[in-house]
């Protein structure tokens, strides 16, 4: 026999999976560049870190992690873009899983842009 608590637990676990299945709406969008250049420089573990992190922390109703194609700055891949509704886009470059974890905690959850990893900090010519 199921109790209401057990039902709640199943719901919370499954919610993250089914929440993917809607349009971004007013959620924060996190885009990982997954073109050939991105994949070659290690975008896949970055994407996985972000996607899993968001689901593990039950944030799917606030953040949607998605992949995108090449944005033309191949030498800066892996690139992660963070788009919060109503705010300027933040572009992170030369990402790896550790940096991604940091961005998740400090920026996506904490609300502070991790300046050290952004495109502006990398002296784009």
């Amino acid at each position: 026999m199921m109790t209401l608590d057990e039902l709640k637990k199943i719901r919370e676990k499954m919610q993250n999976e089914v929440n993917i299945r809607q349009e971004a709406g007013d959620r924060i969008r996190v885009l990982v560049g997954m073109a050939t250049c991105g994949i070659a420089s290690g975008a896949r573990p970055v994407l996985r870190t972000l996607a899993d992190g968001v689901q593990n922390k039950n944030l799917t109703d606030k953040i949607v992690v998605s992949q995108t194609g090449c944005i033309g700055l191949c030498q800066y891949e892996p690139i992660v873009e963070v788009i919060k509704p109503g705010e300027p886009k933040v572009t992170y470059v030369h990402m790896n899983p550790e940096k991604a974890e940091e961005v998740l905690t400090r920026h996506l959850i904490g609300g502070h842009v991790v300046r050290d990893y952004t495109l502006e900090s990398s002296n784009l010519k």
């Binding site: 719901r11 993250n16 299945r21 997954m34 992690v65 992949q67």
Partner: protein, 596 residues
């Protein structure tokens, strides 16, 4: 954990256009690229846009692929799922505007509001966990632990929910009539009418296939409200996929203890059984349906007594339609005021329509009550194809009528449809253009009713047959003005005297076309002419000698050898031999053959 989900439509429409093979190929390609841990493939219920199946949707991007073929799977996986580049050539675009669209941006979805269909096309109907993830069984938990049965009934009553099977009886009232009969819950029943029989209607099937738990949960809530321990779903055996998914859903709900004894540790117990119907139309009528569940020949009986007092096995029973139940859980969770805020003065909430016939976007649409026919046809439905003109919409199937162009701006709700001579019915909506003959349409539905009349009462058994004979006479060009009058008289007589809903509504298609398209009937009778060029006896195929190049193609196509002529000379059709199949007209490359 998955970072992306690929939804493949597993509704009956997409399945028959090959979606299962598409899904298998996608899974295989995903495995090949080592993405099986990252990308999930889910088979869902119907998305609504059946004309464009097989449909595949990729989330989180919400990319909407239409007409996906099995061989497209490799490209979708390699390009989109691996590299994040959507396969542009497969993305659904609305023709007039060429830009790419996401789901909610398309005219088809923009005006829709999905309550009954909220999970269709979103969850895997064979996984109860996904239903729970979308808030499933929360409403049942809420009523069992926080609400009295009377509060549940009052909520449904306050919401203004009315029967979606077509008649529009207030659902809460139905429940209350039954609840006041205080008998042992063992001898009270909750029934679901899933015997969807109107030609062209398939919304109930889509709910059963796409979101079966929504029905089970709502039936359990109804059971609690009226004090019943047993439910029956009467579903037609012609819906094998719906039956299969219902069986899976019931087994899963029982396993989780969401159906069965002492649900959520309360005193409430409820089980649900399936009963398969053999497809007789009359078994969609409530008394015939219950007679059929009892194991007898499905025939209606007079009311009263009403099922709320003496229904299944002569016990108090409620019977609601699938779509009605599909609204219940949301009303419980979001409240009566929320539901009441949608729709018109007398008709609350949404209605699902199965769009078919001469319309670009064939499929399922759910719109707030009060949406106009024009919005459904021209915006959501994408208009009448091939540059033809809209002539009428048939709603309510064999029980309904035709809505002509002059009434296209009437907001659709129960009362308005009745006022213009049609009815809501279960929600079939067949769009007709200038090539449809209204007498022929009326004849089609009358033929259906003659076939499906159970034969118990005379007005329906004999009356519909006589009406059909008159219609045949008219379309054969042998009708008289007196026949039209007789048709009307007989129709009204059957309406007043038949035993059950089938007979009482059977004349509607004839009466409504007589009302709005009387001139077409008269043209058939006096001028012996079918304006739309449908009734074979009243038309002839003729070759225009000025346009005919004498290519002989038509003569070779003619199965009756009715076309003669020599090469490079205009040909002639022998009207005596012509069987009016139209093969010559299809074959002619010079548009030299026309109907007269």
């Amino acid at each position: 954990m998955y970072r992306s989900t690929v939804l493949v439509c597993g509704g009956t429409g997409c399945t028959s256009s090959g979606s299962i093979q598409v899904m298998d190929n996608l899974k295989e390609e995903i495995k090949k690229h080592g993405l099986a841990e990252e990308v999930e493939v889910v088979q869902t219920g119907c998305h609504g846009l059946c004309a464009l199946g097989p449909i595949v949707i990729v989330y989180p991007d919400a990319t909407y692929y239409a007409n996906v073929q099995p061989e497209d799977a490799a490209e979708i996986v390699a390009e989109h799922l691996l590299k994040g580049r959507p396969v542009e050539r497969l993305i659904y675009r609305e023709e007039e505007k060429k830009e790419l669209k996401t789901l909610n941006d398309t005219a088809f979805y923009k005006k829709q509001m999905r309550i009954a269909l909220r999970n269709c096309g979103v969850i895997d109907p064979e996984k109860i966990e996904e239903y729970i993830g979308r808030g499933g069984y929360q409403a049942l938990g809420k009523v069992l632990t926080e609400m009295t049965p009377e509060e549940v009934i009052q909520t449904i009553l306050d919401s203004g929910l009315r029967g979606r099977g077509g008649a529009g009886f207030p659902t809460g009232l139905k429940w209350r009539f039954c609840a006041v009969n205080k008998v042992d819950p063992e001898y009270k029943y909750v029934c679901c009418n899933a015997d969807e029989g109107d030609p062209g209607a398939f919304m109930d099937r889509s709910v059963l296939e796409g979101d079966p738990h929504a029905l089970l949960e709502a039936m359990a809530i109804a059971g609690y409200a009226i004090g019943s321990a047993h439910g029956f779903v009467y579903v037609r055996a012609e819906y094998p996929l719906a039956v299969k998914r219902l069986e899976i859903a019931i087994a899963q709900a029982e396993e989780y203890g969401l159906l069965g004894k002492n649900i959520f540790g309360t005193d409430f117990s409820f089980d649900i059984k399936l009963r398969l119907g053999a497809g007789a139309f009359v078994c969609g009528e409530e008394t015939a349906l219950m007679t059929s569940i009892e194991g007898k020949r499905g025939e209606p009986r007079p009311r009263p007594p009403f099922p709320a007092n003496k229904g299944l096995f002569q016990r108090p029973t409620i019977l609601n339609n699938v779509e009605t139940y599909a609204n219940v859980t949301q009303i419980i969770l979001k409240g009566a005021d929320w539901f009441k805020s949608i729709g018109t003065e007398t008709s609350k909430g949404t209605k699902v329509f199965a769009l078919g016939g001469k319309i670009t976007n064939t499929g399922l649409v759910e719109v707030p009550m009060g949406t106009t026919l024009r919005e459904i046809v021209e915006e959501i439905g994408g208009g009448v194809p091939n540059g033809k003109k809209f002539k009428a919409a048939q709603t309510g199937g064999p029980s309904g009528g035709c809505i002509p162009m002059s009434e296209i701006d009437v907001p659709i709700d129960y009362e308005n449809l009745l006022a213009i001579g049609s009815m809501m019915g279960s929600g079939g909506m067949i769009i007709m253009d200038e090539d449809n003959c209204m007498v022929d349409i009326a004849k089609f539905f009358m033929e259906f009713c003659v076939d499906e009349s159970c034969g118990k009462c005379t007005p329906c058994r004999i009356g519909t047959k006589r009406m059909l004979e008159i219609l045949n006479k008219i379309t054969d060009g042998k009708g008289t003005l007196e026949d039209i009058q007789k048709l009307e008289e007989l129709g009204n007589y059957i309406k007043d005297n038949a035993l059950c809903g089938l007979g009482q509504t059977a004349p509607n298609p004839v009466l409504s076309t007589l009302h709005y398209f009387r001139d077409e009937y008269i043209a058939h009778v006096t001028e012996k002419k079918c304006i739309a060029g449908v009734c074979k006896a009243l038309l002839s195929y003729v070759i225009d000698p000025d346009k005919c190049k004498g290519c002989t193609l038509c003569a070779r196509q003619c199965p009756a050898k009715a076309i003669t002529g020599t090469v490079k000379q205009p040909h002639v059709i022998d009207q005596e031999k012509c069987i009016k199949c139209g093969a010559c007209m299809d074959a002619c490359k010079f548009k030299a053959i026309y109907k007269k």
